[in-house]
Subunit: 206 residues, 4 copies
DNA sequence: TATGAATGAGTTTTCATTCAT
DNA sequence: AATGAATGAAAACTCATTCAT
């Protein structure tokens, strides 16, 4: 009865939504939530402002959608892979450090988004929960490796959760230093140094 | 008409300025730069909006002044103290970890400010430079300890700067996790675990 | 391709039109002209927005069509009936009061529409004329009864038109009080009191 | 300390507020709530839009303020006066009819406001309550006169509240007819006819 | 110097209407 | 005829900043 089938409409909607979302991500990350205008997004996406509101109820939800699409691209899947592609906990941690560092090197364009989203932790419940879950998941994954290593006598006896938190912190903290001054953070050195120190310690007297 | 001496005036101005700054800090950190209104600050500081503009040229400079006053309270001085109050590089690092962790415990009220300032790194040159210098200073201080430790054969041979960056990163990253979910970060465990691992390594086979 | 005859098409159109009109009436009365959205009407009527515009040139004409369908259901026909079903002017007025009061009791769901349409008297010519004609007709009908009563010496000599206007006013005014506070207007008492007072007067000294 | 004293500011505020309110009343009544724009009000009042929002939190509250200032000018005080300036209930009612009719004649410019405010009864709680209270008060005042008349044997025994409601309704209903077609309502005839009929009844057979 | 009224540019949001399919 | 995506003009509201007093 309709000349465009519902499926056609659906496809149209999906395409447009993604088009808007992509542009919105760029602008939000470049300018920050408040300085970014819906009209900027509309213009750069080549649609009218009304169209934006056809796809997203308001600016905040557009931002949230950007956050969600960004969140998906995060590291958890990679962490899980590392678990499976290495035999011993020691190797697992080493591989992990390498992977994450390499990932950072590649993903330079999305790193600036971190500070933007971080700054919404206080103000946006969904984002807060997103970060809480992400951290929780990642700590869980790492803590399991560490506990496993302790059980197998590969690692000394530390609090696995605290240790996991520290490992995650290293990368987030480095992202911050990289954002402040990209030249000063050499991801290619990080993995090695980190592996060396974490696994064998700084101490030379063994 | 007024019996006030110029010096008294000056003192009055200073006091008022600090009064405004204190309130501005609270509001900026609580609401974020954009959501914070000059009128809010004025009201909470008990002055008129116009008065704010007698003390600060505009909102951005008010924010910058808040940033600067916040920056001062940061860790560098403490780091320097640690250098002097410990004999060996090993002890220095251990003391450092303890001090910083204890400091975090106390400074819970200013931690939320981190994300706000971080998010301005991209957008504000002064803040970017502030962070760059702070990171540079801290890396320098830590790198010197590490290099010293290597020279004294207390530490294995690592890239001091990279190692320094990692150490700093740990704390910034933990601040982030703490902000996302304070209950999940136990500062009191951090120092021990960190000292243990950094100094002796995770590896049990020594 | 379609086996539908023109007549069937016509019936379909009529049905759809009425369907839209019914829903539009509900929404316009519930929300008022401006707060009611064409998209609301479309959604609730189960058609697309575009379809509304196949049946009505624009929102104003849709509203007008609602007004017209509402106007038709009004009292004039009943008034005419009352004229025929009572013998004397006195009885006619009495019957009238009873009928109208009973009608109000039943028509509670359309009473809220009154204020909405009233408020368009200033702004919409068609509605203004509609009300003018309705009032004129009703005053005419009542004035004829009254004049008849005066001629037959059943009534004292009053200005029939003014008296007619007053009688009509009573009901409109009561509708308003009912809308403001339904519990405070007891339609079942109205007819009696009205008949008693209008016909015999409040004065006890006769 | 301030060159303008608080009292001066207060006077300024009051004056401006009234200036805005007056213009807003005109525009709201002329165009209706929705069709009236805040920018129209600002322009006609010779201030900026921002100034409007300096004095009223939003459009709705501006409208409400208009309603309240309009409500004050209503009839209750006059009704009370009538109570005191007439000796017997019969005279009281007669005087009342005269006063109200005369008032209508004078207040032609505010009558169009009625339909606008009426139409907000459903949508605005404050206005609903305003009307409820106004009707309640007026019914109370009239019912007391009527009850008094019954007690003194001046009036026949009717339900005072119902009778009061009817009397009030007459005027509201006539306002409506007047709004629809001013030429058709002759306020100068109303009082006489009303007094005659209400007090002595239409019936000629006494 | 302090005040707070006033500004007006800038932003988000809404929605009747159009139109390609 | 029917669909619903797209439009864009219009509207409410905000707020940093100015300035007369």
């Amino acid at each position: 009865m309709s000349p465009r089938t519902p499926a056609q409409f659906e496809k149209l909607r999906t395409r447009r939504r993604e088009q808007i979302l992509k542009v919105a991500a760029e602008i939000f990350i470049q300018k920050g939530y408040h300085a970014a205008n819906v009209s900027d997004v509309a213009q750069k996406a080549g649609v009218s402002q009304g169209t934006i509101y056809h796809y997203f109820p308001d600016k905040e939800n557009l931002f949230l959608a950007v956050y969600e699409s960004w969140e998906i691209r995060n590291l958890q899947s990679e962490l899980r892979d590392a678990l499976e592609n290495a035999a011993t906990p020691t190797e697992q941690l080493g591989l992990l450090a390498q992977m994450v560092a390499k990932r950072m090197e590649q993903a330079k364009d999305i790193l600036p988004a971190y500070t933007e989203f971080w700054s919404h932790i206080h103000r946006n419940k969904a984002i807060k929960i997103g970060f809480q879950n992400m951290f929780k998941d990642m700590r869980g994954i790492l803590a399991r490796i560490i506990r496993n290593g302790i059980d197998k006598n590969e690692f000394v006896n530390t609090e696995p959760m605290t240790m996991a938190a520290i490992l995650i912190a290293v990368f987030d903290g480095l992202i911050l230093q990289w954002i402040a001054d990209p030249k000063q953070v050499k991801w290619e050195n990080i993995a090695d140094t980190l592996t060396q120190v974490i696994l064998t310690g700084l101490s030379a007297n063994k």
